[in-house]
Symmetry: C2
Subunit: 388 residues, 2 copies
């Protein structure tokens, strides 16, 4: 495993600092610590606006010191952190993820009313532009999601259940080096290797937050992903799966059909291919993120299938994709009104879907890198509606 040079980490911290609207950032979410410090050993990382970062390790400082480039490593937790931050006025916290109890503990120990700001937007904007190292890791992740799709083509047959098929796909990805989880920046959010679902399970809105086609899962305790439904001849099968490598992700959905695809299945899937084809030329520096959504929606309008795009009725969502990196779902959201300019080094997962109540659904997702000359896919499994 190759890790970034110290200079890359210093650049990341520098880019974050230029966006900091606080005097000291208290970073405790493991993905953010990994991004800035290169380790996930249990710790809290302090980045002052001016001066050197300090890292406090709760447990295994030896391993942490081995893994991080940060020079000032100390043993400690909230108590030691508070001794430092009481000298600063405005304290930055990752408000979307840190629990209330941590805030209360800081507040109590700080010995005065503290002023806090949310540093998550600044962190995520920094993370939005990927380095060459990060892109390489995502390319490795894409090899792993491709291994999953390859295995699916071999394993899919009439009568196999969704969960048996998921077991095959996950087995192949794990053997290819998958770290076992997809990281999602959502408190109380969980993601396994992704979603595998078939037939009518493709249009049942099962309520996993933020996902459109989810499958129905094995029970009410986890009502998304593969179920015990047996796949029948003629069924559409969706695999929306992610690779992981050194903490980086790929996101890649493909469609399969058991036996021969019928005309309607082909026709609706073709619309997704057309979206991809027409959206790629729009994904270049100089355009805005919202332009990408609009280009896709234009195709949908031409085909008159607005009511099924990204979900039907009130289950629909107005987006086309999302950034991706050390979390599967990062800014920018590719959606109307997102006025962020496309930039070299952005990585976007685009996932157009048609979800038709009473019928089924189709989905096509690739992860793209924005380069100077346009968009280049990172994921590479074959893109036709695969008949097995």
């Amino acid at each position: 495993m190759i890790y970034p040079e110290d200079a890359e980490f210093e650049m990341r911290v520098g880019a974050f600092r230029s966006r900091m609207e606080c005097d000291i950032a208290v970073i405790s979410h493991s993905r953010d610590i990994y991004y800035f410090a290169g380790t996930i050993q249990p710790s809290i990382l302090l980045i002052p606006k001016d001066g050197e970062p300090v890292m406090f390790f709760r447990m295994n400082m030896d391993k942490g010191k081995d893994e991080t480039w940060i020079g000032d490593c100390r043993k400690g937790g909230i108590k030691e952190v508070c001794e430092i931050i009481r000298n600063y006025s405005v304290i930055g916290l990752e408000k979307d993820v840190i629990p209330l109890s941590i805030y209360e503990s800081i507040h109590k120990r700080a010995g005065r009313d503290i002023e806090t700001t949310d540093i998550t937007p600044a962190i995520l904007l920094t993370r939005m532009i990927k380095s060459r190292y990060e892109i390489k890791m995502m390319e490795e992740a894409a090899k792993i999601s491709n291994a999953g799709h390859e295995r699916l083509r071999e394993a899919l047959h009439e009568g196999i259940s969704e969960i048996e098929l998921a077991a095959e796909v996950e087995y192949a990805m794990r053997r290819a080096g998958h770290e076992g989880l997809l990281h999602i920046r959502r408190w109380d959010g969980f993601l396994h290797y992704g979603m595998i679902a078939s037939g009518e399970n493709l249009y049942i809105p099962s309520g996993y937050p933020g996902a459109t086609i989810t499958g129905v899962g094995m029970s009410r305790a986890a009502s998304y992903g593969a179920s015990s439904r047996r796949i029948r001849k003629g069924d559409l099968v969706m695999a929306d799966i992610g690779g992981s490598y050194a903490g980086y992700h790929s996101d890649e959905a493909r469609m399969y059909v058991v036996g021969s695809a019928d005309e309607l299945q082909l026709e609706r899937y073709e619309i997704l291919l057309e979206i991809q084809e027409r959206v790629i030329p729009v994904m270049r520096p100089g355009n805005r993120v919202s332009d990408v959504y609009e280009a896709a929606f234009k195709v949908i309008q031409e085909h008159g299938c607005e009511e099924w795009f990204m979900g039907f009725w009130h289950y629909g969502a107005r987006y086309l994709g999302h950034g991706i990196g050390i979390e599967i779902d990062e800014p920018p959201l590719v959606a109307p009104g997102v006025d962020i300019p496309l930039q070299e080094g952005m990585t976007l997962a685009l996932e157009p879907k048609l979800i038709v109540p009473g019928w089924s659904g189709v989905d096509l997702e690739d992860t793209f890198l924005i380069t100077e000359s346009g968009a280049k896919p990172i994921t590479f499994s074959r893109r036709d509606l695969v008949e097995v």
Copy 2:
């Protein structure tokens, strides 16, 4: 899939209410919502001290209403919740898991300074005693972890890597119906199917919070669990894995050796078997949780191996096990000073370990049910040091 009767849910809410130290509880952690309402559709559950519970669904209310026994289901989120809670004085929140941003949003919308208390202890104390239904679900989960251990015995051979072995074990559990994740009540905590590790990886403290033997993982981004290390003849191999069924867990660690076990391996593993044998008679109503720890520690003292028990040097932890249910790690912690009386319906995962620097480690974990007449194991894979 069979779900509990309404009467069981009403009993759960009643037991929680008798511990409530607030006027209304705002429950938003999906595991707690599942426990009280029987669904995990994105929602917020309000339980007033007096009066009927109300549930607000953010997205798919139709599926939520189908799944829950709660009569008063409405569409809404934080805004609608605040319209209700502004009529109460003390608001209960799950402070260990809900993010600061949710608290700030409630605080802002409530229109006044709100007084809050932490309801997590009351929820977890309620969840500590399992119903017959819950025990049945855990027994189903134990069949799934057993399928993992059975597959491990078939698949383990000289030269296989830890991750290849993990792929086999996880494949077998997934095919047996595993829901894909182990739920852990720890913000920023992740668990896949558990930990598989071998040889010297059994004593490397890799810093996964709260776990003693962790393995080293595939990269610094996930430095626990299976790695690419190839297993050699004579190596000890640990599989500390969990089943999941309808949201309920089993936790079960076993030890394997490639080829014949040597005397030291057998001798150290025998100490764990002796602990289990001598601790079981202590696990009966009337004794305290701390008595269970003390009985185990006495065995350790008799063998003079205090410095390796549950970790060596400052990496050591003072506990023997934990409660288990819809989260893998629930109260009570089986540790010195935990003065909770053992009660019928408690489920405890005991996991004595010896971790010897420069050598390796041994681990033996079973999930037990406390009955009127004593402790009964729920997990059931063979308990000898398996030679393959």
